[in-house]
């Protein structure tokens, strides 16, 4: 019988090794699934791991999807590090997009490029407002933030559906639930010709740097995390848990809102009911697979983006469905959590405690 034996110190080796082992396990399960479905597993691997990096254009597409994932995950990592369970980033992303879209709709032919600043700021504010509801209810009413933030996702989806089907519906849109296409001036500028990569990537990278400095080089960042690691120690040191709660939720809400703004004014260019793509949920996995570390999450965001593109490729070229993406995302998190046991425990045969 296998037994777990607690390690005196968490294993540094396994804390890096575990995401890699988890990815290998996910690939093994994925390959078995392809075989079971009667599809060529090599073609499957090609869809997920080679095609997304096979040409400069595809790499660009990879970055287009990795950008919102990384921005949202950076905020979520601050939440998870401070033991605040915000799992409603999807809702904050949607509200951010609605706010940003509302500002973008105000632009007309004569508007200058300055409109981009209020568009992005509106996104951040929108996400913050939505996250603030969760923070307020947790702070004032002790309401569980997992359930509240998640319920607010469903509310946000309905709000979006109301806005694009009612007040903001495009009169020339053949009754489709969507707004008119935004003016070109509100479009997030692209970095290169021939690729959809926008300056959003720069925001994401700046976010990585900002988070690294905040977490590891500032007193506020330290105080933020102590509450998550050792609540009693944080109280003793006089670090406010309420402050940590609000900081975590406002930062992650703002980040998710920014991602929503970049998406709606970037690749999409209008508000539609197709806006929610599950980035808010996938970012939870990005945060964990990236070890809640800013640099680690760069890699995991790219990996998760590969899953998205691989799913689309498998749909168009292998006749499978795009939902394969969700299967592999969930599997990866499962495998990661199982492998993470190795960080804190040694596996032993026989009875525990014997040397």
């Amino acid at each position: 019988m296998l037994k777990l034996e607690a390690r005196p110190q968490p294993s540094a080796l396994w804390s890096y090794g575990s995401p890699i082992l988890a990815l290998l396990l996910t690939v093994v399960i994925g390959v078995s699934m392809f075989v079971a479905l009667g599809k060529d597993p090599l073609r499957g691997l090609e869809m997920f791991f080679w095609l997304p990096i096979s040409s400069p254009y595809q790499v660009g597409e990879l970055l287009v999807k990795a950008t919102p994932l990384l921005i949202i995950a950076l905020g979520l990592a601050i939440c998870f590090r401070s033991n605040v369970w915000n799992i409603g980033a999807e809702g904050q992303y949607i509200i951010g997009a609605i706010f940003a879209g509302g500002v973008a709709l105000l632009a007309d032919k004569s508007t200058g490029a300055w409109i981009l600043v209020p568009v992005l700021l509106a996104g951040v504010v929108g996400g913050m407002v939505w996250a603030a509801i969760t923070a307020l209810l947790r702070d004032r009413f002790n309401a569980n933030e997992i359930l509240v933030s998640l319920m607010l996702v469903y509310v946000a989806v309905q709000l979006l559906s109301y806005m694009v089907g009612g007040p903001w519906k495009d009169p020339q849109g053949f009754n489709f639930p969507q707004t008119k296409t935004f003016e070109a001036v509100t479009r997030i500028p692209r970095l290169f010709d021939g690729s959809r990569v926008s300056i959003g990537v720069l925001f994401a990278l700046a976010g990585v740097l900002a988070m690294w400095v905040f977490l590891f080089r500032t007193r506020a960042g330290f105080a933020q995390q102590v509450g998550g690691l050792a609540p009693a120690a944080a109280r003793y040191a006089g670090y406010s848990s309420r402050r940590a709660l609000w900081t975590a939720l406002l930062i992650s809400g703002g980040a998710a809102g920014l991602a929503g703004a970049l998406e709606v004014a970037g690749p999409i260019g209008q508000l539609t009911t197709y806006l929610p793509a599950g980035y808010g949920f996938a970012a939870i996995i990005v945060a964990y697979v990236g070890r809640l570390h800013p640099v680690g999450m760069v890699f995991s965001a790219i990996l998760m983006s590969m899953f998205y593109i691989g799913g689309e490729m498998a749909q168009s070229r292998l006749g499978l469905t795009k939902s394969l993406t969700g299967v592999f995302q969930g599997l990866l998190l499962f495998c990661l959590l199982a492998c993470d046991t190795l960080v804190n425990y040694r596996l032993r045969l026989g009875r525990p405690g014997r040397t």
Binding site: L147, Y162, T325
Partner: protein, 306 residues
């Protein structure tokens, strides 16, 4: 009058889905395990049950498939959380994300599928009573069985020795372990039973309640069921009442649309979610009250000898 009878009937119907799932989650939480994977288990059970009925034409086999799907996923969750000491919240989330993707993947071919026609479930004589008949006595048998199950659970938890052991595992796994009870096995059993009940709820949803399969059709009912255990301060009778209350809120939107209330449908659809938030805030307002009622070891791992 008849429209109110139908509202009551629809409320019981919708409440049954929530009640089954929430009673399952209650059993989990009574031994100290929070399973955020309810939504994912219900989705997988919904497609398992639906597909089975489409292929075999038998509701019974459909329910068995749904229960099995829920139990298997519950066991997987339990092994990770209880034996590998993974974080309960993160593991539950993984289950929900996986369940959402997996059910959508498996269910692609069933989106247009139709169920065989069903005979009426009306009970002879009782079903013909005016008003009361259509309100109460034309339900699927599972609606009544759910009430019986809740009563049975109350008896089990508070009147039997096994129920006492189960509650003690949730209150203090260390003491239960010291007394020689197999804490981890009891927890696993509770998690599997809880998963099976979530599976039954998911199967009822796709086989009887809607009855059809759409991606993501559980639409937050798993999460509302999770919130219900807190509303009910972990008492089965209150879980049942809360489930019917929320079933009523879900159904009210169709009733309001029916009688011509001029509110955009999106705001009516929001109601159950908003109601969950409001009630959760009201109930949780007093931390003392929650602490007294909540199983003490909830969310905490227990590993003997560590």
């Amino acid at each position: 009058m008849d429209s109110y009878a139908l509202l009551v009937a629809a409320t019981l119907n919708a409440g049954t889905v929530l009640a089954l799932a929430s009673l399952g989650l209650l059993i989990n939480e009574k031994v100290g395990i929070v399973n955020l994977g309810a939504e994912g288990m219900m989705l997988c059970a919904a497609i398992a049950g639906f597909a089975t009925v489409v292929h075999t034409g038998s509701d019974g086999l459909g329910f068995v498939a749904g229960v099995a799907a829920g139990a298997v996923l519950g066991a997987l969750f339990g092994l990770l959380v209880i034996w590998l000491n993974t974080n309960q919240y993160a593991t539950g989330l993984a289950l929900t994300l996986f369940g959402g993707g997996f059910s959508a993947f498996v269910g692609t071919g069933y989106v247009q599928a139709r169920m065989p026609e069903r005979p009426s479930f009306a009970i002879p004589w009782l079903g013909d009573i005016p008003v009361l008949g259509p309100a109460l006595f034309r339900q699927h048998p599972l609606v009544y069985l759910t009430v019986l199950f809740a009563l049975g659970l109350i008896w089990f938890m508070y009147r039997t020795r096994a129920g006492l052991v189960m509650r003690s595992v949730g209150e203090s796994p260390e003491s239960a372990h010291a007394l020689g009870y197999p804490v981890r096995r009891i927890r696993l059993l509770a998690v599997v039973v809880g998963g099976a009940l979530c599976g039954l709820a998911g199967a009822y949803l796709s086989i009887i309640y809607t009855p059809l399969w759409v991606e993501g059709m559980v639409a937050g009912k798993g999460w509302i069921a999770l919130a219900l255990t807190t509303f009910a301060t972990w008492r089965p009778a209150r879980v049942l009442l809360g489930a019917y209350l929320f079933g009523g809120v879900t159904m009210l939107q169709f009733h309001l649309q029916g009688i011509g209330v001029q509110v955009p449908s999106q705001f009516l659809t929001m109601m159950p979610y908003l109601a969950t938030i409001v009630v959760l805030a009201l109930i949780s307002r007093n931390p003392q009250w929650i602490r007294i009622n909540m199983p003490a070891s909830i969310g905490k791992p227990f590993y003997p000898g560590s």
